[in-house]
Amino acid sequence: MTQPLLKAIAAPPVTVLLVEPEVLARMILADYLRGCGYVVHETASGEEGLEALRGQMEIDVVLAEINEIGSMNGFEFAHTVRDLHPGVEVLLTASLANAAERCHELCEHRIVKKPYTPQEIVNQINILRQKRRGRGRF
């Protein structure tokens, strides 16, 4: 039995807070992580993320991008989270591809894993983006 598998068996369900302004990317990344066995809460901005952390639900890991997430960027958000919630692990991502890689890495620690590569996650998001562009606004 490998070390990661032992670790996964011993670990309780981990809760991830995803901070991602783009709804399609947020939906697919959150769905992927849930498929790996994580409890995932979704927020669209840093402000929402901080409010979620102030709430009643326990959060173990925050995944946020470094760019603008509402009125702050990811670095400012991470700084605030580390100040106010030192027990929460913050993972910052530099791009959609990087976010997909991070999610894939997180899933490596779970018993239930989805067999998709980070590139397939990105492709999935891009397919939906293309459809949305094709339809335009109602």
Binding site: M27, I28, D31, E51, A52, G55, M57, K131, R135, G136
Partner: protein, 136 residues
């Protein structure tokens, strides 16, 4: 999550997909979490504009559950009216803290639920409007 995507093509039976539109994260997070524990698939959006982006991407939706009062150009009622044109059969639940919100949407089954509401009652209502409960 979405039936027409390669990621979930093998999953069966089809999940019940709820498009939840709620700008208040303090409410959206527990509602989405509860519905997921009940077996529903929940797509979370914080505005009507985000919800329209989901619809435009052709993700399959079984029910819209939207707050009526929301910031932005489109409120929940206007969103429901737009979707009534695109998806006339889509059941809709409108929620509001106001006793008598302005609701002009008509068409598919729709209900008004006043806030605060019981989470299990909302889950039951979703099952009733969709016509089935989530797969065990």
């Amino acid at each position: 999550m979405v039936s027409e995507t390669p990621m979930d093509a093998a999953e069966a039976p089809a999940p019940i997909v709820v498009l939840l539109v709620e700008d208040a994260i303090a409410l959206r997070m527990p509602v989405a979490h509860f519905l997921r524990t009940e077996g529903y698939t929940v797509i979370e959006t914080s505005s009507a504009e985000e919800a329209l982006g989901i619809i435009a991407s052709e993700v399959r939706i079984d029910l819209l559950c939207t707050d009526v009062q929301m910031p932005g150009e489109i409120d929940g009622d206007a969103l429901a009216r737009r979707l009534a044109l695109e998806l006339p059969e889509l059941p809709v639940i409108l929620t509001s803290g106001a006793a008598t919100p302005r609701i002009e949407a008509a068409g598919a089954p729709r209900r008004f639920v006043r806030k605060p509401y019981e989470l299990d009652a909302l889950a039951r209502l979703i099952g009733e409007l969709v016509g089935r409960t989530p797969p065990a």
